[in-house]
C-alpha cells in the first residue's frame, strides 16, 4: 500500500468515504471548509449524496434523517457551528441513531477566531446538548490517526447506535502528512440494520422517537442508555503512553497539544529530565484507570491543553488525589511551541525536586 500526502481535512473526507459513508450534509465554516469541498467532489465519484445545507442546524437534522434511513452519514464543522448542532446531537443520542460528527476546533467563545484551539473539550465530553446522554469522542493527533479513527468512528457509531465525535482542531485540518488508507468498504457489504425506516413493507410499522411522556418509560430509556454507556466505557477506552516507564512526571495532553508535548518531552529528555506523556485517544470514555495508575506511580501530572483548563478536571478525577495535578495551557488560538512547553516541564520538574533521588524514594 502506498502512502499519500494529504491535508487533514481531506484525510477525514477520504477516510469517511472509504469507511462506507455516502451521505454528507454540511455548512461552510473556517477552518474546515476543505471537508465539505472535498466531499462535494468525492461523493460525486462514488455515487454518494452531498447537500450543502442552509445552516448547521439543518445539516445535523439531515444527518438524523439519513441515519434513520440506515446510511453511514457524516457532518463536519468547527466550534460555533458545532454549538448549533448540539440540539441535533442530543436527539441523535436520545433516538439512538449512529452518526459521525467532526469538530475542527477554533478559538472561542463566540465567534472567537479561526486559529487552532481545544476549548470545546467540555462541550464534546459533557454532552453539549440537553439531557442525560453521552457522545463517544475520539481525539486524533496525526493525519494517519485521523484516518484510522474516522474508520473506527463509523464502526463505533453503528455498533452502539450512538453519535461519535471526532475532535480535531484547525491545525489537524490544515497540516499535510503521509497517510496510508485502509481498503475501502463497500456500503452494500455492511450489515442491514433491523431498526431503520424503510417503509413498512411486509413488517409492522416502526417509529423512531425520543418523546417518552411517561416518566417511568423515559427512566427506563435513560437506564438503557446508561447501560450502553457503561459497556462503551468498559470496552472502548484508548490511549497512548510515551516514555512513561521511568517517568517521574507525566504530561497529559490530547490531539495537537499532545504532539507539541511530545516535542517538548524529546527536548527535556536530552537534559536528563525523566518525563513521559499520557495521551487519551478517547476523551469519552476517558481512560481514568490507566491514568490513575500513572498518578499513583509518579505522583506528578501536568495537564497541558490549548485552552484555559478543561481536560485537567478529568485528570484530577483520574488521579483521585493520589498526587499533584498541575496545569499549563494557552487559550484563544495561540499555538504553544515545544520549547515553551519544555520550559514549563523543566520549571515544574526542578521546582518539585523531581531530579532529587529523595523525591523518588518518597513515592516508593
Amino acid at each position: 500500500m502506498t502512502k499519500r500526502l494529504m491535508r487533514g481535512s481531506h484525510v477525514l473526507g477520504e477516510a469517511a468515504v472509504r469507511a462506507g459513508c455516502r451521505f454528507y450534509f454540511g455548512y461552510p465554516i473556517t477552518p474546515q471548509n476543505e471537508v465539505p469541498e472535498y466531499m462535494s467532489a468525492r461523493l460525486l465519484e462514488v455515487g454518494g449524496t452531498f447537500v450543502q445545507a442552509e445552516s448547521e442546524v439543518a445539516s445535523i437534522n439531515m444527518v438524523m434523517g439519513a441515519s434513520m434511513a440506515g446510511a453511514r452519514v457524516m457532518t463536519t464543522s468547527s466550534s460555533p457551528g458545532i454549538s448549533l448542532k448540539q440540539e441535533g446531537i442530543s436527539y441523535l443520542a436520545g433516538l439512538e441513531l449512529p452518526a459521525v460528527i467532526a469538530n475542527m476546533m477554533r478559538g472561542g467563545p463566540g465567534l472567537g477566531n479561526i486559529a487552532p484551539a481545544q476549548g470545546d473539550y467540555f462541550q464534546a465530553t459533557r454532552g453539549g446538548g440537553h439531557g442525560d446522554y453521552r457522545c463517544i469522542v475520539l481525539a486524533p493527533a496525526s493525519c494517519q490517526e485521523l484516518c484510522d479513527l474516522t474508520f473506527r468512528a463509523f464502526d463505533l457509531a453503528d455498533k452502539y447506535r450512538n453519535p461519535v465525535m471526532i475532535l480535531g482542531d484547525g491545525m489537524m485540518g490544515q497540516m499535510m502528512e503521509p497517510v496510508e488508507f485502509p481498503e475501502a468498504i463497500d456500503p452494500a457489504s455492511l450489515p442491514v440494520k433491523d431498526w431503520i425506516l424503510t417503509g413498512a413493507a411486509g413488517r409492522p410499522q416502526r417509529t423512531i422517537l425520543s418523546l417518552l411522556l411517561d416518566p417511568k418509560v423515559l427512566e427506563a430509556h435513560n437506564y438503557k442508555l446508561t447501560r450502553k454507556y457503561d459497556a462503551i466505557t468498559r470496552a472502548e477506552q484508548d490511549w497512548e503512553t510515551y516514555l512513561c516507564e521511568d517517568a517521574r512526571l507525566v504530561v497529559v495532553a490530547f490531539g495537537t497539544a499532545a504532539r507539541i508535548a511530545k516535542g517538548a518531552i524529546k527536548r527535556v529528555r536530552e537534559m536528563g529530565i525523566k518525563v513521559g506523556l499520557f495521551r487519551p485517544k478517547t476523551l469519552w470514555p476517558f481512560p481514568y484507570q490507566p491514568l490513575g495508575e500513572l498518578a499513583r506511580a509518579t505522583r506528578h501530572l501536568l495537564a497541558f491543553e490549548m485552552n484555559s483548563g478543561q481536560m485537567v478536571e478529568d485528570v484530577r478525577l483520574a488521579a483521585e488525589g493520589q498526587g499533584e495535578v498541575h496545569f499549563y495551557g494557552r487559550p484563544g488560538g495561540v499555538i504553544p511551541t515545544p520549547d515553551e512547553v519544555a520550559h514549563q516541564i523543566s520549571h515544574y520538574y526542578y521546582g518539585a525536586g523531581l531530579d532529587q533521588a529523595a523525591a523518588v524514594a518518597r513515592r516508593a
Binding site: V51, A58, S59, N61, M64, G65, G88, G199
Partner: protein, 254 residues
C-alpha cells in the same frame, strides 16, 4: 350491501387524543386516505412535528421518524435522499413550519426536495396552551397577546405558503380548509395531489390546511367552523397558490 365508508387502512385503530372539534383527526384521515388510494402505505415514511400532532406516530400505520421542533423538512430531506424510491411526508403545525422551522422549510422548497408537506394552520400554539403563532390574526387573543395581536408589538400574520411560491423548487402549493364537507373534499384532493407530485418526482409540494382549534380559540366547535369561513380566510384565502404540475383539474397527468 355496498361499503361506502371505512377507516383508512393507513390509520391504526387508535383513539386519538385530540380535543373535541379539533381538525387534526380529519386531516390525519385525509392523509391516510391519500396514502391508501395511491397504494403507497408500505413505502411511506412520515415525519411528525413537535406540537399537538407529535403523537401522530400513534395513529399513522406507516413508518414514522420524529423530528426536533421545526426540523421536519431537514429530517425528511435526509430520509428521502437516502431512499429516493420511498415516499416521505412531513406533518407540521404553524409554529413548527412557519416560525422555528422557517429556514428549513424555505430551503427544502428551494432545493426542490421531492417531499410532501402537510402544514396545519390553526393560528395558535395548541400543544403549549395557546400562545401567539406566526399565523395568529391581528387582534386575535392568545395567552401571549392578552389584548389581541398588535402589529406594532407582535408583527402581522406570516403567509408562509405565499413566501414558498417564489422558490423555484416548489411545484404545488394550495391552501385548503377542513371546516365543511365541501372544503374537506377539496382538501382531500389537494393532499392526494401533493403526494402525486412526489411520486412523479416533480419537486416540492405543500398543502396548507386551515384547521379549527376550539380549545385555544375559546369557541364552541360550531362557531370555530364558521370563524374559518368568516374571518380566517379573509387573511388566508383558500385556493391554489402555485401549480406547475401540468395535471388537469381532476389531478390526472395532462
Amino acid at each position: 350491501m355496498k361499503k361506502i365508508f371505512s377507516k383508512p387502512q393507513s390509520l391504526k385503530p387508535a383513539v386519538m387524543h385530540y380535543c373535541p372539534g379539533c381538525g387534526h383527526s380529519i386531516i390525519h384521515r385525509l392523509v391516510a386516505e391519500a396514502i391508501d388510494q395511491l397504494g403507497i402505505q408500505e413505502r411511506t415514511i412520515g415525519v411528525p412535528p413537535a406540537g399537538c400532532a407529535v403523537l401522530a406516530y400513534n395513529y399513522f400505520d406507516v413508518d414514522m421518524g420524529e423530528a426536533p421542533h421545526g426540523r421536519a423538512l431537514a429530517v425528511a430531506t435526509g430520509l428521502k435522499r437516502v431512499q429516493p424510491d420511498k415516499v416521505v411526508f412531513t406533518y407540521q403545525g404553524d409554529g413548527d413550519i412557519a416560525a422555528i422551522g422557517t429556514a428549513e422549510t424555505i430551503h427544502a422548497a428551494n432545493r426542490g426536495e421531492k417531499l410532501t408537506a402537510i402544514f396545519v394552520n390553526n393560528g395558535t400554539y395548541g400543544m403549549t396552551g395557546g400562545q401567539m403563532a406566526p399565523t395568529t390574526l391581528v387582534g386575535m387573543g392568545s395567552t401571549t397577546t392578552p389584548q389581541g395581536r398588535n402589529p406594532d408589538r407582535d408583527g402581522t400574520p406570516l403567509d408562509l405558503t405565499q413566501m414558498l411560491a417564489v422558490a423555484k423548487g416548489s411545484i404545488y402549493l394550495e391552501r385548503v380548509a377542513v371546516n365543511s364537507p365541501k372544503n374537506i373534499k377539496r382538501a382531500a384532493a389537494a393532499i392526494k395531489k401533493a403526494f402525486r407530485v412526489q411520486l412523479d418526482g416533480l419537486g416540492f409540494a405543500l398543502v396548507e390546511v386551515l384547521s379549527m382549534c376550539p380549545t385555544n380559540w375559546k369557541m364552541e366547535p360550531v362557531k370555530a367552523l364558521e370563524w374559518i369561513d368568516q374571518t380566517m380566510t379573509q387573511v388566508f384565502p383558500l385556493g391554489v397558490i402555485k401549480d406547475l404540475t401540468g395535471y388537469d383539474s381532476k389531478g390526472e397527468t395532462a
